[in-house]
């Protein structure tokens, strides 16, 4: 976003404070620099030359979950998250990003071979407890800070990445639609079981499935202000999926999904637009495109649902996952309080600001537990990591799973 556009949006802020009612970080801390109107005022002051991009500024601008709760409620329709991203980019330009992040975004994520090696290192580290290896695998250092305390939050790497476990072409007998599956890094390297569940559900529908070559969606780079790396990743993905020649592109990750839909804007080419238009969430595919056919097995769970920020507000998907859950034989669905409030994961936010993210997560865990559900379902691996961590930390008798896993249990 250029400075004039930023200024135009900033001028619209009347400081009414509506954002204070919905901001998860303000809700836990009650401090103004963490809420949208404070951040917007700081950005204004920077643009007017009244403030430098100091370390404090950098810290305050990184203290945002990008959950869009303020953006959606703003009576003056200010895209707060985009403004925060723009200023992060400005800061990254001016101050540079950390050595580790730079390495990850500009080299590791751009090269699947190296990424897989890094993931393997991480796996080995976790299996053997070899401390030094984690330092080599830059992936785990992404968040920085005290590693020991967050150990439980760190994803447990899969031995073999999901995409190396499955064929890349799964044709159907009478396909209605040809679908490309964008697996996302977390499913690929950490939660292969989610990937298997997605495929199991898809295979029970008349769909041709392709898993093209693919790279990180770019959202971690963009969130850290490295737009250039994000654009490069986007271009690689667009090209690879174009070759696959599909009708629809699905994701099982809310964050990846919202990022893939952003490609149109981010890259700006007709190819990018064509790509973004094809992207739908796993749940939308089953709810809108094909008619979801559950299997016969009953799943006798009381289930509640957590709306990932990037699905509910990022992609406007609200009812599809709920309808699918309710369609599962045996399930009793219970809506939780504040289902669409951020869980505190926000990419690597929960690693960087562990204590604060845990406060946000605590509220989510309580809301989940208050429903009396045994299972909480959601549509984003990043949320799953955080919610799982919070439920265990608070000893709550609830399990978390991806929507695909719940649906796959019926077959």
């Amino acid at each position: 976003m250029n400075k004039e556009t930023m200024q135009k949006y900033l001028d619209r802020c009347s400081k009414c404070g509506g954002c204070m009612a919905v901001c998860p970080l303000y809700g836990e801390t009650h401090v103004e620099p963490l809420v949208a109107r404070g951040k917007l005022f700081l950005i204004s002051n920077y643009l007017e030359g009244n403030l430098d991009l100091s370390c404090k500024m950098k810290e305050l601008m990184s203290l945002c979950l990008l959950c869009k709760a303020c953006t959606v409620q703003c009576p003056n329709s200010i895209p707060v998250d985009e403004l925060v991203l723009s200023i992060r980019q400005e800061i990254a330009h001016e101050k540079g990003i950390s050595f580790v992040k730079k390495n990850v975004f500009q080299h590791l994520l751009q090269n699947n071979g190296r990424l897989t090696t890094a993931a393997k290192c991480a796996y080995l580290y976790q299996q053997s407890g070899l401390q030094w290896l984690v330092r080599k695998s830059r992936l785990l250092e992404l968040g920085g800070g005290d590693l020991g305390k967050k150990e439980n939050l760190l994803p447990k790497m899969a031995k073999v990445p999901f995409r190396a476990q499955v064929p890349h072409l799964l044709p159907a007998a009478n396909p209605r639609v040809k679908v490309a599956y964008y697996t996302g890094c977390l499913t690929n390297y950490v939660f292969p079981e989610t990937g298997h569940a997605v495929l199991k559900v898809l295979k029970n529908h008349p769909l041709d499935i392709v898993i093209p070559d693919q790279w990180c969606c770019g959202i971690p780079a963009l969130a850290s202000g490295d737009e250039e790396s994000a654009v490069k990743l986007a271009q690689k993905n667009i090209e690879a999926f174009q070759k696959a020649g599909v009708d629809v592109i699905i994701t099982d990750c809310a964050s990846c999904g919202s990022m893939l839909r952003e490609y149109a804007e981010l890259v700006g080419t007709p190819q990018a637009r064509a790509f973004s238009e094809k992207v739908v969430d796993f749940s939308e595919l089953l709810d809108d495109v094909v008619d979801f056919q559950p299997g016969e097995k009953e799943v006798n769970h009381i289930v509640t649902y957590h709306d990932p920020c990037h699905l509910r507000r990022g992609q406007g998907v609200k009812e599809a996952p709920r309808r699918l859950i309710k369609a599962v034989p045996g399930v009793t669905f219970r809506e939780m309080k504040e289902a669409d409030r951020c869980c505190g994961a926000a990419g690597s936010f929960n690693l960087t600001y562990y204590e604060l993210a845990s406060k946000v997560g605590h509220r989510k865990a309580q809301n989940i537990n208050d429903t009396g559900a045994q299972t909480v379902v959601t549509g984003c691996p990043s949320c799953i990591t955080q919610i799982d961590h919070m439920l265990k930390r608070e000893n709550l008798p609830v399990q978390v799973m991806h929507l695909a896993e719940l649906l796959s249990m019926t077959y």
Binding site: R12, S14, K15, G17, M20, H30, P33, F41, K56, S77
Partner: protein
């Protein structure tokens, strides 16, 4: 400017973590919901009456200004540190201490968000009626300090009607309690009324006893459309004559209606001069006959169309129009100068006429909405704060707008307070003698002028 020694003492009092010193953080406490901002020297976030007391004592020793701040949603500049000094952020004192269902009293700290009190009360069938539109963000301390009102004020009154007792740290640093859990109390002067609406100039409120009432069983909503604003005002009177006191009577003028319709496409009539949104509450058995009576009165006073909400969806659709106002009007121009003059109810049509005349004379965009039951209007001037020339015209128009309200037997501010924004006009209403009484109270209680200097009595500092 505060010396490092003083800052260190403050850190000792509340803990380092709760003292904000960087320019970035201070900037975030420089503003409220007005378009203005002033940088404080320090922000302090105490968590107890004792900590507040120590800060005030220190202020008297070293003579620095102390500005109490709730959520900073004020619309008159009350929490702006116009003279620098220490902003005392009270949002950490945010515990609901007790909901006493037997005595119908809530005891709360000042930093509690008003809506949480309502939620807690409603869980046990009780009701805290004051409902400023900012209720999900503003603090109860700020509500008491401004004597906030809301749409329900016509039937249920404003914040002051629910304050039974207060604990206050005085400008001298003493802690006093006034009132408590009793509904009646005439021991000496009514200090509760004095502190309620005192805008942080006479003390820092640290504990509040609030009266609760049983929650009305049900409510019902209507919308009436008028070709003529006078008829809308007449309807209100006719309804009351029938012995019905609606809980809300919200009015929108033609310009407001057009803005909302253009922005939200709700199907509102673009040629109407006024819309009234009327809501009644109480025992369910009464509401049908009451709404029928209200509809009848509206029609006989000239309403061209009356809709009664038959379902929750209908009700939502009617209120959607009112809720959309804020967002809709800033589409015209980004800066919203929101006034809250109040006039006797029957003077509303004349007031609206004068307001429109003033706006057209200064070539300004003006929308008028507000609470038709109690005559509290919200004329909003839409302008652009970057446009200096336009802002000068706004300034002049505001002066005339206040004069018009006073001429019609009204008041400068129904609920937002004087703060800095209306301070230059205070004497219009109080006169010299009234002003002197207020000023004497302030001087007697705060001889060092520690608390919230530059508010209410601004005209003095400019003289």
């Amino acid at each position: 400017m505060l010396s490092n020694a003083v800052i260190n003492e403050i850190k000792q009092i509340v803990g380092v973590e709760y003292v904000l010193t960087t320019k970035e953080e201070l900037l975030c406490y420089a503003y409220d919901s007005t378009p203005n901002a002033f940088l404080p020297d320090l922000v302090v976030r105490p968590c107890s009456t004792a900590e507040v007391q120590k800060i005030i004592k220190l202020a008297n020793e070293h003579l620095f200004p102390v500005v109490p701040r709730g959520a900073g949603t004020g619309l008159s500049g009350g929490s702006l540190p116009v003279a620098g000094g220490v902003v005392v952020d009270l949002t950490r004192m945010n515990k609901i201490l007790e909901i006493d269902a037997e005595n119908l009293v809530a005891v709360v700290e000042p930093g509690v968000i008003t809506y949480s009190i309502q939620e807690e009360a409603e869980k046990i069938g009780l009701f805290y009626p004051p409902d400023p539109a900012s209720l999900k963000t503003s603090t109860i301390g700020g509500n008491v300090a401004e004597c906030a009102g809301g749409p329900r004020a016509f039937k249920y009154g404003v914040t002051r009607d629910y304050v039974l007792g207060l604990e206050v740290v005085t400008p001298a640093g003493d802690v006093i309690s006034t009132g408590g859990k009793t509904v009646k109390s005439v021991t000496g002067y009514d200090l509760i009324r004095l502190y309620t609406g005192s805008e942080g100039t006479l003390g820092i409120i640290t504990k509040i006893y609030l009266r609760l009432i049983p929650k009305p069983e049900s409510k019902k909503t209507l919308m009436a459309v008028y070709n003529n604003l006078k008829d809308a005002a007449q309807s209100v009177t006719s309804i009351i004559r029938q012995g019905i006191i609606p809980v809300t009577l919200e009015m929108m003028d033609d310009r407001t209606i057009q803005c909302v319709e253009k922005h939200k496409h709700l199907g509102l009539p673009l040629d109407a001069e006024a819309i009234l949104i009327i809501e009644v509450d109480g025992p369910r058995v009464l509401l049908d006959s009451q709404t029928a009576e209200i509809a009848e009165q509206c029609r006989s006073c000239g309403a061209r169309d009356v809709k009664v909400a038959e379902s929750e969806d209908d009700r939502d659709r009617i209120w959607a129009a009112r809720r959309a106002v804020s967002a809709a009007v800033v589409q015209i121009k980004p800066t919203k100068i929101s006034e809250d003059v109040s006039v006797p109810r029957m003077a509303i049509p004349e007031m609206v006429k004068r307001l429109k005349e003033i706006a057209s004379r200064y070539q300004l965009e003006l929308v008028i909405f507000g609470h038709a039951g109690d005559g509290n209007l919200h004329p909003n001037i839409l302008c652009n704060k970057q446009d200096k020339e336009e802002m000068q015209r706004v300034e002049k128009a505001i002066g005339e707008l206040f004069q018009a309200a006073v001429d019609l037997g009204g008041t400068l501010s129904g609920e937002h307070g004087i703060g800095t924004m209306k301070a230059p006009y205070l004497k219009l209403e109080t006169g010299e003698a009234g002003y002197a009484v207020m000023k004497n109270i302030k001087q007697a209680l705060d001889p060092n002028n520690i608390l919230n200097p530059g508010k209410i009595f601004w005209s003095d500092s400019n003289e």
